[in-house]
């Protein structure tokens, strides 16, 4: 099976305000195939956030090659990257990042606005996505009227709505208690069983173990990559 996303010899160097250079990634080779459920684990400062930004094509590598479905996405203009993110990547963040005072339905349809889908089609698909995450009864609730776990479900529905190639979850349980966190991980497993490719970034081994493959990082390199 062809790789969905493939990184070879990827490095990323940041120049801090003082002029000091920090090498966040030092030669990463990683291939993620369709329908995989991969967790990326490592302590803070290990470069896992930088790796996630590059996989999510929010950022470009300093050197090396990044291919999404066989196409080089290394040095594309910002407009083109936005288009690719819209089409291929669904983001789930630790802090949910829902728009305040905005209904679950309006939050979920947001990515579709930027892909030019008509309003009626957007609502239909947003309703569908909210049903998948089990929030059919709370479509018109605003984030303030929802629990943390429910807010993260709305965010997952938002990630699902464009039918992306890859769902990228960055510490999705970090702001939740263990019960709600488990529910979110179960939901991600469920989505993976339905055929969605999922990359889960976390620093908790317990959470990482729920995936089918664990990629462990330290000091900007992958130190282990094993299937469970």
């Amino acid at each position: 099976m062809a790789s969905l996303i493939s990184l070879s010899k990827v490095t990323k160097t940041y120049r801090l305000d003082g002029g000091v250079e920090v090498q966040a990634l030092r030669g990463i080779d990683l291939k993620i195939k369709e329908k995989e459920f991969v967790s990326i684990i490592g302590p803070s400062g290990s470069g896992k956030s930088t790796l996630m930004h590059i996989i999510g094509i929010l950022d470009s590598p300093s050197t090396g090659l990044v291919e999404l479905e066989g196409k080089n996405v290394g040095k594309l203009p910002e407009e083109k990257l936005a288009e690719l993110r819209n089409k291929h990547i669904g983001f789930v963040f630790q802090a949910f990042n829902l728009l305040p005072r905005t209904s679950a339905l309006d939050n979920v349809e947001l990515p579709l606005i930027y892909s030019g889908v008509s309003a009626t089609e957007r609502i239909r698909r947003a309703e569908e996505a909210l049903k998948i995450v089990g929030l059919a009864e709370r479509m018109n609730h605003t984030p303030a009227q929802l629990s943390g776990g429910q807010q993260q479900r709305v965010a997952i529905a938002r990630a699902l709505i464009t039918k992306p190639s890859l769902i990228l979850a960055d510490e999705p349980t970090g702001n939740l208690d263990s019960k709600a966190g488990d529910e979110i991980v179960s939901l991600l497993k469920e989505l993976n069983a339905k055929g969605n490719t999922i990359v889960l970034v976390t620093h908790e081994l317990e959470i990482a173990k729920k995936a089918k493959r664990i990629v462990q990082m330290k000091d900007g390199v992958i130190i282990s990559d094993k299937k469970i």
Binding site: H53, G56, L58, D59, E78, E79, A82, E83, R85, N86, K87, F91, F93, A95, N97, L99, P100, R101, T102, D106, L110, P111, I113, Y114, S115, G116, R158, T162
Partner: protein, 401 residues
Amino acid sequence: MIPTGEILKLSIQSLLRNKTRSLLTMLGIIIGVSAVILLVSIGQGLQSYITNQFESLGTNVVMVLPGKFGAGGGVATTAHSVFVSKLSLNDVERISKLGSPIEMVGASIESTSNVSYAGKSRYTTIGGFSAEYLKMMNLSAASGRVYTDADDRVSKNVVDLGQTLAPKLFGSGNPLGKSVTIGGQKFRVIGVLNKFGSSGFGVDTNEFAIMPLTTAQKLFGLKSVQSIGVKAKDKDSIPVVINMVKKELGKRLKDDEFSVVDSSNLLQTINQVLSVLTLALGGIAAISLLVGGVGIMNIMLVSVTERTREVGLRKAVGAKPKDILYQFLIEAIVLSLGGGLIGVIIGSLGAWGLSNFIETTVTWWSILLSFGVSALIGIIFGVAPAARASKLNPIEALKYE
């Protein structure tokens, strides 16, 4: 890029999420625009009031006024000018003897006094008009009669009351034949006038009481007249008439003791003054619009900072820099245009309310100007915050606390 309609919807949703703030942000523009509409409507009202006043004198009329008109002297038609006027009835007679193309010569004075009847009293303008002057103004009686030249020659104590003055003194009763007291003297009411002239700016010509010129001179102890109206045969002969009158009066009076102007001349001068006034009022209002625009920019900058994470999220899910730029720009324009719309409504309502007291005219150009300026302010002051938002790095923006 996504369609403008969608961006407009996004912008309005964002503004509605902060209703109070949006309204307060618009306040500067609301005040600025309503000030423009109101002040310009007052200026325009003043202009049309004065134009009407002059048109009531009829066409082809040349006015002789005391003093030097237009050169520091201003418009010498106030009651005060009576006391400095060197024009006399003798001048009126000499001008009328000049003959063709002069058709008619009339004279007037105006002063103020109490008019009272049976305990009721009104402080109003007393017009002393010669019979010819009445003809030039097309004055006629609604009931009774207007005084004649014969009354004027013997300085009879008779008075005609303005249409709105009569009911204020007599209620629903018939004023004809009754005696009113003006300046301590008794005058017999011989008629009530038809509506004439216009009302506005605290002077309602229909509240005048008018009496023969010589009667008024006696009442106010005057030998002079305040203005002389000279009616020319037609428009073309106006320059000839002006020359004739100037030459005749020049025999007796010094150059700076009288002015001869035709009504179009006079109107032009007054309109020039009023245009400057209108522009000045508009300028003051424009400054408040500018302040309103800066207010919008300030709030938009705060809003961009506050919504950094929102911008990050939108970019992460596929918003292009231009989508973000237009969203914030349109938010600023909606704020300023919304403020403009509310300002136009408030300004027009204010002008309508004021029209009970003074004449106001809401003009289309002031409304269009206000809208145009509002939109422009939205664009000018919205660009900087919107550009800042569109340039945010999505990774940094998502991490922003």
